[in-house]
Amino acid sequence: MLEKTRRDVLAGAASVAFASPTLARTITGEEPWQPGEAHPPLAAGPGPLQFLTEREAAVLDAMVDRLIPTDELGPGGREAGCTIFIDRQLAGPYGVNDGLYTQGPFAEHPLPTQGPQNPLTPREQYRHGLAALDAYCQSNFAGRAFDGLSAAEQDRLLGDLQKGAVTLPGFDAKALFTAVHTNAMEGFFADPIYGGNRDMAGWRLVGFPGTRYDYRDVMDRPNQPYTLPPVSIQGRPAWQKASR
C-alpha cells in the first residue's frame, strides 16, 4: 500500500471531491416527507443561562429594567423575563444569524432598510458590546459596572448610547443600544413560549388578546370593550392547571 501511484492518488482525490456532501439530492419514486409533519415553536425552557454569563445577564437585567421600568402599569422588562428571552434567542438559531446572508459588500452609508452592515452575529454583538460597555463604565464611573449605577446615571448613559454620544472602546454604542432595545421589545411582546412576556405582562399592558382561536362570540356583542384575558401559544396557565 505504500507504493501509491500518481493515478491512485488522483483517483482517491476525485472520489473525495465527489463524496463531499452536496446541498441538493435527487428524489425519485418516493415522497421524502411524512404526512402531518409539524414544526411547532421550540419552547424556551426554564433553567440556567444558556449563552450569557451571570455578569452579562446582570447588566442586561439593569438595562431592560430602565428601558421598561416596573411601575403602576405593571411589571417591567426584568420581571417579564426579557433577559431570559435574549439569552434563549442568542443560544438558538437567531444567535448565529442562521440562514441569513451576512457576507459583504457592506455599505458605508446604508439606507435604514438595508439592515445590519457587518458580519457580526447577535452572539458576538452582545459579547463584545457588553464587554465594551463594562470597560467604559469601569473607567468613567470609578470602577462601577452598569448595574451598579443609579437609575438616573443609567438613564443618561442609555440615552447617550442611543444617540451615539459616547464612544465605547471597540464597539459601536448605537449598535449595542439598538440590539438591546430591539430584543427587549421582542422579549416583552413576543409569545411567552420564548421566555419573555412572563404571564403575558406585555400583552396585558397593551390589551393584546394573544392567539385566540377566533372572536365569533365577541362579534355577536358589538360596541362592548373586549375583556377576555390574553392567550398564548401554550394556552393559559389556568387551562393547564385544569387539565392536570
Binding site: P21, L23, P32, W33, G36, E37, A38, H39, P40, P41, Y94, D98, G99, L100, Y101, T102, E186, F189, A190, D191, Y194, G210, T211, Y213, I233
Partner: protein, 73 residues
C-alpha cells in the same frame, strides 16, 4: 464548476401547485420530467396552523416561513 446532468425532456423549476400539476400532466403524457425545488414540504394544517400562525416573532420578524438565502451545509 459546471456539472453536466443527464438530459431530460422537461425540467420544472419550482414544484409548487402549478409546477406539480404540470409535472404530473407531463409525466402522464409519457415525458421524462425532473423538477427542481429548494423548499420543504408545506402543509396547511401544520405550517399555517391557526394556533401558531399569529406568532409575530417567528413569522413576522424572524421570517421563519421564508426560505433563507443561505442554507446549512
Amino acid at each position: 464548476m459546471t456539472e453536466r446532468l443527464p438530459r431530460k425532456d422537461v425540467v420544472i423549476v419550482g414544484l409548487g401547485w402549478t409546477g406539480s400539476i404540470m409535472a404530473l400532466e407531463l409525466a402522464r403524457a409519457g415525458l421524462d420530467v425532473v423538477a427542481i425545488e429548494r423548499g420543504p414540504w408545506r402543509d396547511t394544517a401544520t405550517d399555517f396552523n391557526i394556533g401558531t400562525a399569529p406568532d409575530e416573532l417567528r413569522y413576522g420578524i424572524r421570517h421563519d416561513t421564508l426560505l433563507r438565502p443561505r442554507r446549512k451545509r
